[in-house]
Symmetry: C2
Subunit: 183 residues, 2 copies
């Protein structure tokens, strides 16, 4: 007996994720989301208190999918035994398979750092935590500055998600990132 939430909440959330992944926060209206979800605007407010909360929910969903993918891989998958490469593989796989979620994350993450209002504190912390975990793994293969290096890597993978489909292929990302790890 799971909490049903009627499905509508999920439909709205999905619509929000779609909208926020193709346009930036300020460019997406609640009407836009309502239209995508085939729902009238006030209904959104029945399930979510405000635009920013809806955005956070959509972001969280996308982000947790990313986390699950990147850190939820069995450590040894044959060819790529090294942890760092395996992690990057998963990351790039996520790019390949759920570009939309990664887009949402990448498009908006800088807002958390530039707007100092406490509104995005939680979400920022989550993201920082993610980067630190990436750094931990990378530090086992890289010499120094692993935290910064990790942030760079996550940013490079992420930035490629922002490009229109088919412009910068995951293969190219992989080529660049993995190659740069070689000693």
């Amino acid at each position: 007996m799971t909490i049903r939430t009627n499905g509508i909440r999920e439909i709205i959330l999905e619509a929000a994720r779609e909208a926020f992944s193709s346009k930036s926060y300020g460019d997406v209206s609640m009407e836009d989301i309502a239209k995508i979800a085939n729902v009238k605007k006030p209904l959104i407010y029945y399930y979510f208190p405000s635009k920013s909360e809806l955005f956070k929910a959509a972001w969280d969903e996308a982000f947790h999918k990313l986390e699950d993918k990147v850190f939820g891989v069995s450590e040894n998958d044959g060819k790529y035994v090294k942890k760092a490469k395996s992690l990057l593989r998963s990351y790039i796989d996520f790019l390949r398979n759920d570009r939309q979620s990664l887009r949402l994350i990448e498009r908006e993450k800088n807002r958390f750092y530039s707007e100092q209002g406490s509104s995005w504190e939680h979400i920022k912390k989550e993201y920082d935590g993610f980067v630190n975990r990436v750094a931990d793994v990378l530090s086992s293969e890289i010499d120094s500055n692993s935290a910064e290096y990790a942030r760079a890597v996550t940013d490079i993978v992420g930035s490629s998600a922002l490009l229109p489909d088919g412009q910068m292929s995951p293969d190219t990302v992989e080529l660049i990132i993995i190659k740069s790890l070689a000693r």
Copy 2:
């Protein structure tokens, strides 16, 4: 006897560049720009016909600075003789010295590809031309897929400009990119 334009136009343009580099198009209001420029809003319309035209002017300015920097270097500057590396050096130098301009370019460039309205056609063509020129130089050092590779490289350098200052240093970018060029 240069065309004076009174300076005010330039002040507004500079204010626009500042505003658009820290927030996205939809999040920047003409009031914001007016406030930064210490000017009343209607004055902006005296010099620029619309928000989008002002934006284009700001973008153009930033972009041409980038072009000048990347392609306007004397070919041989000692240590880095290879053209590709020299070009990337210039690119990363631009990141180092005019992060604000690069931010503006990177923050908005995807809009040109996702909105199919002919409004951004000109600007898109300019940017594509830039990437192609980068590709031409890189192809002298890289085996294949140089166009896509070039786009990836420009995107990686650019994406680092979007991060808050001091988060991903130009040195790290350089490390990753230049290293990935090594055979």
